[in-house]
Amino acid sequence: MFADWPLLSLVIWTPILGGLIVLTMGDRMPEASRRVGLAFAVLTFLVSIPLFTLFDRGTHEMQFVEMIPWISTFNIHYHLGVDGISMPLILLTTFTTVLVVIAAWEVIQYRVSQYLAAFLVMEGLMIGVFSALDAVLFYVFFEAMLIPMFLVIGIWGGPNRIYATLKFFLYTFLGSVFLLIGLIYLYTQSGSFAILDFHHLPLGMTAQTLIFLGMLLAFGVKIPMFPVHTWLPDAHVEAPTGGSVILAAIMLKIGGYGFLRFSLPIAPDAAMALDWLMVTLSLIAVVYIGLVALMQQDMKKLIAYSSIAHMGFVTLGFFIVFMIYNNTGSWQGAALGISGGMVQMISHGLISAAMFLCVGVLYDRMHSRRIADYGGVANTMPWFAAFFVLFAMANTGLPGTSGFVGEFMVILAAFRADFWIALLAATTLILAAAYTLWLVKRVVYGEVANDNVAGLTDVNRREFWVLGVLAFAVLLLGVWPAPLLDVLAATVDNLVRHIAVSKL
């Protein structure tokens, strides 16, 4: 029955409309705002489910396509559609937003309706980013999405929020300016803003290289890659829990999505020529950032650095493909790397969301993120401890949790390229275990460290269900990732076929 509905428009505009409604409700009736906000978040999630169930797994073509002329003078369209790469990310967005709204329930008391409105509007804009097939439409969503996040950190954030928001905004804005230049250049070459037309546009090496580097700045900042990653720990530390969750779970993924939607198919030859750079930066993210994460004194900073290291696996999976080809002379293994990177993105969305929510649970009670202020939490919060250990294990890539799937696939793919690359990538098994479980040891285990810990109460029912749903998702994806891979397969295979053909 949903097949001929404009589903993508619905998932984009339902939360935005909901956000505006909640906003107009003002601060006089916070409880009602929460209920309305939750209703719209749930409704959006429900509307997004047919995208999964009705998705045709046999084709790489865009599905649920909508196209209306927008600005005819420049050949700009309101053009939406999803394939195997974008659809899972949209579901991740709608799923996570529901959890964020629930997680804010009693926690956010200051300007509730504006807080919820920001998240609902942001949800719609992020889904717009994932479903836009017109470059201008994409860019509008891509930039607009920054505004609610800027507000979320700037209004509900911690003491140093102004520095963090400025850093966040300038970094991401700087990157996207170069993206815009690239997109305009592509328009001048193709006479269209359709992203799929860009894919088939023949381009010389210089043009490809410049476009690739411009996009690298935009998406490399977003994901983020070394050395443009330092905005993320600051932003996370200052952001409220919900902001951190969306930032880690969804916004970082937009960088990864950009590489797959723009960089690789538009500039495959440049990507091949610069693969050494991408792989090196990815490995630095895994090893260097892993070591830096080990020494963090602030729980959120630690998880933020852990996110960067995990995103290193994503970019490694995406750009290892050319090295596989150079080493073996075949593209066998390329789809494994790219799919592995995609799985890693979805999995990290769930795990990082869960980790930040866990820190939020502690922060709400103790108003501290310093590891040294904790110790022996398991004594007073046994259920919380169980969840925290589970998500920590998922963060270390334990088989049976979603964290394992992508890492395993990327390591298998990396070995096809080079022994040493696989070896450096695999150090994450040790490093992630070290920084995550050392955190667990210092926070969760041990004797009750102080009176504040002694006074802690275990998770309430709301927190239990939020963490429980995430735990279920993390385990389900770890035990049975096949449905996700089925969705990815046709699109990723097509992408590999596409980049295998030189544009020169």
Binding site: P227, L398, L412, F415, F419
Partner: protein, 666 residues
């Protein structure tokens, strides 16, 4: 049969989930009933499976349960491979697990984490079964890490103790070092074969041995050798081989039942099982076999020596486990896989027995673990005494008991082996026999014979860390008591196979029990050569009586008896005469200090430096805030231009106009 296999795996998982998530509702009795029932179902069905495969001519079962994922033409599946090796392992795992479950009812009786403990040991049983029943590398790795996870959770079971949570972190990270290599080994295999399935991979082993990989520039190694060594490094962590053994002694921080189940009988033998399972691969790489052999021999001898100076009853048994795992590893290296598995099985019984007996003693001593404060327990704990005696004799290889058959098999096999390093390995494991007997009976005599030293051990004196476990004071009031039946019955049930398991030596070592499962190259088949002179169990025993291992074991036993019951001053003298040797052993050759200084603190210092210098100073302060400052400075400079005076602007315009005119004019 499919349903049976699924039931065997899922019954303990069900028990674990029930006791773990609904422990509060089930209560203590409910929790142990549901988990014991789950494992009992697994054990009984494993018996059926064993019967079906071994005697019923069941053949090999190799089927997929479900497809985990498919990507790039590689199928990642979950499935079962049931052959004689698997059937044997299933039986050993579920039997020991069942015994430990029952024993736990008594041992953990007073613990507030009762339900959690049962949930975890059932979860462990599930994980271990998944590991041994796997028919592919992905599932093997799942089981491999899952048992590591449960081990982590159980070592840190008493999570308030600083030593316990240090030990479990250490155990997990050391195991991760192994898994790091293990996953690369799997990647090497998938690289060549494009498959994770055992059967497919084994079929391509020969081709893989001829394929090369250039790990270091200018060198070309066999891909198979690289893969086998990487996989074995994984086994070195899991099965605690030097130098990745450091976590096992510390793992004794966990409750005694899991020391028996996980850190003696089953999980630590996963590495042995894995190499035996991969025999079709290892047989194509003499280099890898030689590596395995040497590591095993070094572990067997040198870890046994450390056992001589331990005073904590559990740590003595732990070092003994390390040493015995070394023996199994040596067997693998000598291509006597069947002997390794045979020793794995007998060791599982008698070592679980010894650990549980040690636990029984610890209970009677009110959680005192120092053997110097025990003694004379024989008359108070007759069942524990008798079963511990059986376990100790089996461990030192006393003729007729299980350990004799399996250990003799290994030593004889190594003596025939022609793999490089086999000569040294033979000497080491032969000397190891004397050491084994010495540390085993040192402990035995100190605990059960001699003076009742526990009576006058004053509280608070000579206090080693970690002994005062549950806050019970030292110095017993009244006599020690024998443990309740839930403790003694498992001891008796484990004592039976500790005696009898050895009598399967014929079919297991020299028969066709492992035919088609374990592959041995004909030129290296030492067990087949041994089998030529095998005439039956009695002949094997009488032959053993004439061989050096038997006499070495007796010498060790006699020495222990003389030194620790008659002349205690000899040991003190020896310690005074060679303080450096005692110190070296007591510090376990300094591995811990080395790792602590170089790896633990070194990594932390490196991380600190990278953070402070790289992220904070270089990127943030210099580049990010620096560029902000540059922009700020530049705009301050440029601001000077905007003076607000009309004549300044007019002057600038005139200059500009002149420049433009000049440009156009020329």
């Amino acid at each position: 049969m499919d349903t049976i296999y699924l039931l065997i795996v899922l019954a303990p998982l069900f028990g674990a989930i029930a006791a773990g998530l609904f422990g509060q509702q089930l209560g203590r009795t409910g929790a142990h009933t549901v988990t014991v029932a789950g494992v009992a179902v697994s054990f009984l069905l494993s018996l059926v499976v064993f019967w079906h495969h071994v005697f019923g001519g069941g053949g090999v079962y190799n089927e997929t349960v479900y497809t985990w994922l498919v990507s790039d033409g590689i199928r990642f599946e979950v499935g079962f491979l049931i052959d004689n090796l698997t059937a044997l392992m299933m039986l050993v795992v579920t039997f020991v697990s069942l015994m430990v479950h029952i024993y736990t009812i008594g041992y953990m009786h007073e613990d507030p984490g009762y339900q959690r403990f049962f949930a975890l040991i059932s979860l462990f049983t599930f994980s271990m079964l998944v590991l041994v029943m796997a028919n592919n590398f992905m599932q093997l790795f799942f089981g491999w890490e899952a048992v590591g996870l449960v081990s982590y959770l159980l070592i840190g079971f008493w999570f308030k103790r600083p030593t316990a949570i240090h030990a479990n972190l250490k155990a997990f990270i050391v195991n991760r070092v192994g898994d790091f290599a293990f996953v690369l080994g799997i990647a090497a295999i998938v690289f060549y074969t494009g498959s994770l399935d055992y059967a497919t991979v084994f079929g391509q082993a020969e081709g893989m041995s001829q394929a090369g990989i250039s790990v270091l520039p200018g060198t070309e190694w066999s891909l198979l050798t690289v893969a086998c060594i990487l996989l074995f490094i994984g086994a070195m962590a899991k099965s605690a081989q030097v130098p990745l053994h450091v976590w096992l002694p510390d793992s004794m921080e966990g409750p005694t039942p899991i020391s028996a189940l996980i850190h003696a009988a089953t999980m630590v033998t996963a590495g042995i099982f894995m190499v035996a399972r991969m025999s079709p691969l290892y047989e194509f790489s003499v280099t890898a076999l030689g590596f395995v052999l040497i590591i095993g021999a070094v572990t067997a001898f040198f870890m046994g020596l450390v056992g001589l100076v331990q005073n904590d009853i559990k740590r003595v048994v732990a070092y003994s486990t390390l040493s015995q795992l070394g023996y199994m590893t040596v067997a693998l290296g000598a291509s006597a896989y069947a002997a390794g598995i045979f020793h794995l099985m007998t060791h599982a019984f008698f070592k679980a027995l010894l650990f549980l007996a040690a636990g029984s003693v610890i209970m009677a001593m009110h959680h005192e673990q120092d053997i110097r404060r025990m003694g004379g327990l024989r008359k108070y704990m007759p069942i524990t005494y008798a079963t511990a005696l059986i376990g100790s004799l089996a461990l030192i290889g006393f003729p007729g008991l299980a350990g004799f058959f399996s250990k003799d098999g290994i030593i004889e096999a190594v003596s025939l082996s022609e793999i490089p390093g086999a000569g040294i390995a033979y000497v080491l494991i032969l000397l190891g026999v004397f050491v084994t007997a010495l540390y085993t009976f040192r402990m035995f005599f100190l605990v059960f014979h001699g003076e009742e030293r526990f009576r006058h051990a004053a509280p608070g004196t000579d206090h080693d860390h970690g002994h005062d476990h549950d806050g019970h004071g030292h110095g017993l009031q009244g006599d020690p008591k024998e443990s309740p039946w839930v403790v003694t019955v498992p001891l008796i049930l484990l004592a039976i196979p500790s005696v009898l398991a050895g009598y399967f030596v014929g079919p297991l070592l020299f028969g066709d029990f492992f035919a088609g499962v374990i592959h041995v190259d004909e030129t290296r088949d030492v067990l087949a050569r041994l089998g030529e002179s095998y005439t039956g169990v009695m002949g094997y025993i009488t032959h053993g009586l004439a061989m050096p291992p038997f006499w070495l074991a007796m010498a060790g036993l006699a020495t222990a008896w003389y030194v620790y019951t008659k002349r205690p001053d000899i040991a003190d003298n020896a310690r005074r005469r060679a303080p450096w040797a005692y110190d070296l052993l007591n510090r376990s050759y300094g591995f811990d200090q080395f790792n602590d200084v170089v790896f633990a603190r070194g990594t932390q210092r490196l991380g600190q430096w990278l953070w402070r210098f790289g992220d904070t100073l270089l990127i943030d302060t210099t580049l990010v805030n620096g560029s902000a400052r540059v922009v700020g400075w530049a705009s301050r400079q440029v601001r000077q231009v905007q003076t607000g005076y009309v004549y300044h602007y007019a002057f600038a315009m005139i200059i500009g106009l002149l420049v433009l005119i000049m440009a156009f004019a020329f």
